[in-house]
């Protein structure tokens, strides 16, 4: 009842920082402006694909998928403080779970052809289960030891993926991903709805967007729950947290499991965007990409993970568009100082370094600075 009273006179107009209850301050949208802008953002993102070119739609679909994986890694690394380089392995497990359950049985690879309503949850649950099995081992070690352990996981995983030919198709060959048929409705085929013909890229975009929004809100809500707060306690001072009654084993295991669930879902969706998946996809560089998503975006923020995903996925596109303007760069071959791919990678590495040195809070920190500047405008304090 008290909650209802609190929400009935929510934020007073003109005084967005005035909170009259704890529940109000920790609400998902603690100000009205925030809620309204998110609603506008969601609406824009739904309308957007109808006005964009195909490759751009596919690219933004990848942004959603990277955001899902990034949010998962951020729960583990940003909120719970456990650095993991193993995200690529769990993405791979998710992708192959989906491919086996939802894919077609063709040229020697297993495929059961089940519905997406079954394989999508399982693509998250199977990696989560593997994480649960590995957690007691991973929890024995802290900090950089965990980073090295998860790095080993990626290499061992890559070997298993290459050798498990009935599941993955084997090294250099690969296999087709799962078919995204949700309750009989194909999400990756051109459809006609109410007389309008809708592009298959747009349909899959919308599907991924819905999954992304649900998972982002779930994570945001989780982070403010009892467990989310215990994550932060473990990150900030694990021994102090333990003294206060937060079980380290349980908290770290939970973080690892949830993170892997998100990674699995992201992997399953990513495999559909890629089209044909080979075991080499799930390598250390994919893990580094996800690390970059959360470090560039901002540790321990959900919106930061989203900004990081936008940045990491769109950066190559941006570099592609800009390189012809700079003499000496560009081209796809050996000519010039650096080709486009090399330039992309170097800028990528440079940005990781620059963000860590200059703005450890990432893009989210930049946004905070910008917001605070205009809040105080025209005064500088």
């Amino acid at each position: 009842m008290s909650n209802a009273t609190a929400s009935s006179h929510r934020t007073t107009r003109g005084r967005p920082q005035l909170f009259t209850s704890y529940a109000q301050e920790t609400a998902i949208f603690n100000t009205r402006v925030k809620r309204n802008w998110v609603l506008v953002g969601i609406l824009v993102m739904i309308v957007l694909p109808f006005f964009m070119q195909r490759d751009m739609v596919a690219l933004i679909t990848t942004v959603f998928i990277f955001a899902i994986g990034g949010i998962g890694l951020n729960l583990l690394t940003g909120y719970a403080g456990q650095v993991s380089l193993g995200q690529a392995f769990f993405l791979g497990v998710g992708a192959y779970t989906a491919a086996v359950l939802g894919g077609e049985s063709r040229s020697g690879v297993i495929g059961l052809g089940w519905d997406m309503a079954i394989w999508l949850p399982l693509a998250g649950l199977v990696p989560a289960l593997i994480a649960l099995v590995l957690a007691p081992l991973a929890m024995r070690v802290r900090g950089l030891y965990l980073a090295i352990l998860t790095l080993g996981l990626v290499f061992i995983g890559e070997h298993i993926f290459k050798e498990a030919k009935p599941i993955t198709g084997g090294a250099g060959v690969g296999r087709a991903p799962a078919d995204p048929v949700f309750l009989g409705f194909d999400l990756f085929a051109n459809q006609t709805i109410l007389g309008y013909r809708i592009d298959r890229f747009t349909i899959f975009y919308l599907a991924c967007f819905v999954i992304f929004v649900v998972m982002a809100f779930a994570a945001k809500n989780f982070a403010r729950s009892r467990f989310g707060r215990s994550f932060a306690a473990v990150r900030d001072r694990d021994i102090a947290a333990e003294v206060m009654g937060v079980s380290l084993l349980r908290t770290k295991t939970l973080a690892f499991v949830i993170s892997s669930f998100y990674a699995g879902i992201a992997g399953a969706l990513l495999s559909i965007v890629i089209g044909r998946i080979s075991p080499e996809t799930w390598n250390i560089f994919l893990s580094i990409d996800f690390l970059a998503v959360i470090f560039i975006g901002g540790l321990a923020t959900i919106s930061g993970s989203i900004m990081g995903a936008i940045f990491v996925v769109l950066l190559p596109k941006l570099v592609n568009a800009l390189t012809p303007l700079i003499p000496g760069f560009g081209g796809v071959g050996e000519g010039g100082i650096l080709n486009v791919f090399e330039l992309q990678s170097i800028i990528f590495g440079l940005l990781i370094i620059l963000f860590l040195i200059l703005e450890p809070r990432g893009l989210y920190g930049l946004w905070l600075r910008l917001r605070n500047y205009f809040k105080a405008w025209p005064f500088s304090y």
Partner: protein
Amino acid sequence: MEDLLSSLVRGLGLGGLYALLGVSFVIIYRATGVINFATPALMILGAFFTGSFGNAIGLPFWLSVLLGMAVMAVIGMIIERVALRPMVGRPAFSAATVTVGVFIILLIVGGRLIGSELLTVNDPFGLNTVNVFGATLFSVDIARFIIALVAIGVVGLFLTRSRTGLAMRATASDQETSLAQGINVGRMFGLSWGIAAAMAALAGALLTAGSSGIETTVALVALKALPVIILGGLDSIKGSVVAGIIIGIAESLTRTYQPIYAPWLGANFDVIVPYLIMIIVLMVRPYGLFGTKEVVRV
């Protein structure tokens, strides 16, 4: 029997490389508490510079290796000054992530410098072999092992006997106290990076020697030194030598015998043996054979 002997010697050669790379990791970890994920790229660049001194200028192998190490030492110090010094006092994993960024940049630069042809270092070993007890041994394996041990021995002597080495060890054990004793801690960080980069360069040169040439993708081999330092303990040079040899021999024996006795494990299974050993070690002794157990106060 011949198989066993030749794979043991190959394992020793591999172990020498891993020990060098392990020492490279350990020196930086001891000084700054950071695991340097850029080591693979430093190794490749070291091999490139050694190769260019040897092939383009035509210097003898020994000289070009030393020059390559010197160039990489300077590059290592520059990296420390530019990218890592601002991270002093920040969480170790942030600094480690900076080295991931450095890794990406250096790997691309290395790939660009090496180009599309295989990199060779103009070494005297080639594919020469010696016969011992009927087993055919590659002389490069023996050379790798001996050179690695000598180089690590020199570093060990430097750390234990010289004044600067003492300062470096003091910095490793307590930065603030060292600062109070008049040690230039920043310079010690730079020196650690210089030595580590030189060790990585030597490893790169030795890796390329005796092969028909390498590409940039070989860089990831250097990450196998991570299991080595886990097994040996993150802060122990002795540990990384012992662990390097253990892991080198284990990998080499697997390469010889696994295709015969356990073909179901798949092709190139030996490549992941170091990581499997690491996982077992972490289960049994999380701080390695010679590592110091971390003591934490609330």
